[in-house]
Symmetry: C2
Subunit: 125 residues, 2 copies
């Protein structure tokens, strides 16, 4: 039996501003340093920037992932979250029959967001 | 001296999916219930959906706000955060000389986001 090797793939929208895309890669690096149960943490983009979602999955697999956990890094359940990302991930899944490719709920559905916004408003930072 | 009456204005991107925009209004309602120091909490949208940012500011002012605190509800510092929202807010500010219209950093710059993503990945919810 092969060892489970987890990867987390942050999927962001992608921006024409390079600094914005770099920010997402930095976020992936920051998570990687804290998330010891996931030896692989990568970032990719739905559109505009690269790596694309298919490329992001491929990077995880090439790094030896046996599982790819997708984190849709979006705040609201718009078309990108409901249709675009699931469609792309479904297409990729068939290419990797030995890899468990699953998706977390989109980031904005986290119940702690209300508390973060409250704290930001109160502390004005 | 007039009493300070704070308002928080959540600025989201706006989606063609109505349910996504409703989600943002629900978020504003949820924050409103917890954020007692802000008697007014509203949501508005940069594009696609209404109320627009100018309309959102107007709603806050009509409800008696003496201060409007903008929360750019975006995850990365792309063009919308760096240029579009500040430009619109700057244009509106001149219309309301008696109202303090200020902006928080965009949501994605909050340092707690790494911990939320870590928790989401570990607990797989």
């Amino acid at each position: 039996m092969n060892k489970i090797r987890k990867s987390l793939l942050i999927v962001a929208h992608g921006s024409r501003k390079k600094v914005s895309n770099i920010e997402i890669h930095q976020l992936a690096n920051n998570i990687s340093m804290k998330l010891k149960s996931f030896p692989i943490v990568e970032a990719c983009f739905l559109e505009i920037a690269e790596p694309s979602i298919p490329q992001g999955i491929e990077i995880c697999v090439q790094k030896g992932a046996s599982e790819v956990l997708i984190m849709p890094y979006f705040l609201a359940a718009g078309r990108h979250v409901i249709e675009d990302i699931p469609n792309i991930v479904d297409n990729e899944r068939v290419k990797y029959p030995g890899i468990a490719i699953t998706s977390l709920p989109y980031f904005g559905s986290s119940p702690v967001i209300v508390d973060i916004l409250k704290s930001l408003a109160e502390n004005n930072i």
